[in-house]
């Protein structure tokens, strides 16, 4: 929504004007490193992570606790830093302003790198490569190929303010978009036959198709777009950027990230941990 974008923009401009004024003055390298969030985390003994609930990146377990791919990632980061981890669940639309306002140290929230976002925050190297997938309604779109969705008769549902809506707009410029606050609502539109297709990050579309056989199908098993998810940090902190990027590099090389990713993304063997059905 436009209003929300304007608000977010205005809030961020204000925060940056207030917050970054101090950083601009600190042009000495030494002061940069001593002011690095890494030092702060070690001193505090707690790594504060901003995230947003998003299956299977971060979910609520039956007992209300947090589980998921990036919960594992954040816990591992904290373990390697020898500090405690503290999760701060935040609504997606407020997550970047909250980072800039120092509500937490880093966003580990399945955030895809985009140039627009990169103007306000710094990204590490990617720790996951998920893409966008589409699931479609058998009732409305049976037999349609991917290209057939680029038509003015087609309605595509997606979650607002996130990568999927941008991907949908780019891939299917002629189709009309229905934007929703969260994936579940958008998904319901397809099940109800109000939208032809629904685009969101893998692997949700596949999980949903498996759950509703005969109602939903995937026009293609391929990812429609390739995403690069990375940690997001406040600007002006090279030490932290270096630390987190190298942490990702190390755990990519030793296969830990891939192993965890496979556990959460390739199947739903973890399903009994969450309350999902």
């Amino acid at each position: 929504m436009n209003l929300r974008k304007i608000i977010t923009g205005a809030a961020m401009a204000g925060i940056m004007a207030l917050g970054l004024g101090g950083v601009a003055k600190a042009d000495v390298a030494q002061s940069l490193s001593s002011e690095s969030v890494i030092e702060e985390i070690k001193k505090r003994g707690v790594l504060r992570v901003g995230m947003s609930t998003f299956v299977p990146w971060a979910m609520r377990a039956k007992d209300g606790g947090l589980i998921g791919f990036e919960i594992d990632v954040a816990k591992k980061v904290a373990e390697d830093m020898e500090v405690e981890v503290e999760f701060i669940p935040t609504q997606w639309s407020g997550i970047i302003p909250a980072l800039i306002a120092k509500k937490f140290d880093v966003i580990i929230g399945g955030m895809s790198i985009t140039p627009a976002r990169n103007l306000t925050v710094n990204f590490t190297i990617p720790y996951a490569h998920s893409g966008q997938q589409m699931v479609a309604s058998m009732e409305l779109a049976d037999g349609m190929a991917v290209d057939d969705f680029n038509s003015s008769d087609v309605t595509i549902a997606c979650r607002r303010g996130a990568t999927p809506c941008n991907a949908a707009a780019k891939l299917f410029p002629k189709a009309s978009l229905s934007r929703f606050d969260d994936d579940a609502q958008a998904f319901q539109e397809v099940v109800n036959g109000n939208a032809h297709g629904f685009i969101t990050s893998a692997p949700k579309p596949r999980f949903w198709m498996e759950k509703h056989p005969g109602k939903l199908f995937m026009p293609t098993e391929e990812n429609l777009t390739q995403g690069d998810e990375a940690f997001a940090l406040r600007k002006g902190d090279p030490d932290a950027l270096n630390f987190f990027s190298n942490w990702i590099q190390v755990h990519t090389s030793n296969g830990w990230l891939q192993e965890r990713h496979d556990f959460w993304f390739t199947n739903q063997n973890w399903a009994d941990q969450v309350a999902e059905n």
Partner: protein, 302 residues
């Protein structure tokens, strides 16, 4: 003789008119139609259990029932509403009195405050104000340091009364936001209440030599409070519902918990229906409570 007179004539009981039957019939048809649509046309498999598990769940090891996310969210909403109301009432009282002060500066300050807040969408206000106070003011007061270094006893007291220690500064910011916001409306309620007290009360009190402050405290406010209680109750209930806007700023209140539960379970409708019912129950509870209080106050002194 007066006591020989007959009792008052019985009021004839109101009968059901044809139109009542028709209207109620139509209402039933409408409800039935909606249920039919939901059941047969909307492709939706209702599943309540996953959502209900997030209200409270049975720990399989101990067999104890544990309050889960939604109850915790509800408690957080209540804490927000409780502290928010106290702070908003304080702001509203002070600002309301400033609004009718003889001092131009105080009057202007209160006026600007009220107009500013009433004419800005709540979401904008919360967003800007929250990020300003929490990023600029909280570190100055040292709330975060206090929260981190608190002893376990302090932490558990604060955890019970306010919020978990790690979110204490968020909570504080959220309460201040809500209080600032609702305070503007209470300011106007207080002003209207005080101004509704007839001039004779002021004169009667001034004539026995009471100072302005004493007139206000002993004569005007006690009477004004009874007049402002109904709109104040309405405002309090509004505050309970408005507290949902601070979910934008990562306070784990009921609406925020609901978005998380809905995202995790994918049971959107069930989640919001359950949460809606929870809001209804607490708001209705307060409506009844205030109704009682109002009745008692009016019986008390008239």
């Amino acid at each position: 003789m007066a006591h020989d007179r007959p009792p008052p004539p019985l009021k004839p009981k109101r009968r059901w008119q044809k139109i009542d039957v028709v209207i109620i019939g139509l209402a039933f048809v409408a409800i039935a139609y909606v249920v039919y649509r939901v059941e047969h046309v909307l492709v939706y498999k209702w599943e309540w259990q996953p959502v209900l598990d997030f209200v409270a769940y049975k720990n399989p090891d101990t067999g104890e029932w544990v309050a889960n996310l939604l109850i915790q969210g509800l408690l957080m909403t209540l804490r927000l509403a409780f502290w928010g109301t106290i702070a908003a009432a304080a702001i509203g009282l002070v600002m309301g009195l400033c609004r009718i002060s003889q001092n131009l500066f105080l009057r202007a300050t209160a006026r600007i405050y009220v107009e500013l807040i009433r004419n800005i969408p709540p979401i904008v206000f919360i967003f800007v104000f929250y990020f300003f106070i929490s990023s600029q003011i909280m570190p100055i007061i040292g709330v975060d340091d206090f929260a981190r270094n608190a002893s376990p006893e302090t932490a558990s007291i604060i955890g019970f009364l306010f919020s978990p220690m790690d979110l204490f500064s968020n909570f504080l910011a959220g309460v201040i936001c809500l209080a600032m916001f609702e305070g503007a409306y209470i300011t106007e309620i207080v002003r209207a209440g005080v101004q509704s007290i007839e001039k004779g009360q002021w004169e009667g009190a001034r004539a026995i030599g009471l100072s302005r402050l004493n007139v206000m405290r002993d004569v005007i406010l006690p009477q004004a409070i009874r007049k402002i209680l109904p709109p104040l109750a309405g405002q309090f209930i509004t505050l309970v519902k408005d507290s949902a806007i601070v979910s934008l700023i990562s306070i784990q209140e009921l609406t925020f918990s609901a978005t998380e539960v809905a995202a995790t379970t994918t049971r959107v409708f069930e989640t919001w229906i359950v949460v809606g019912a929870m809001y209804f129950v607490i708001c209705y509870f307060f409506a009844v409570l205030f109704g009682r209080l109002e009745k008692r106050l009016s019986q008390d002194r008239r």
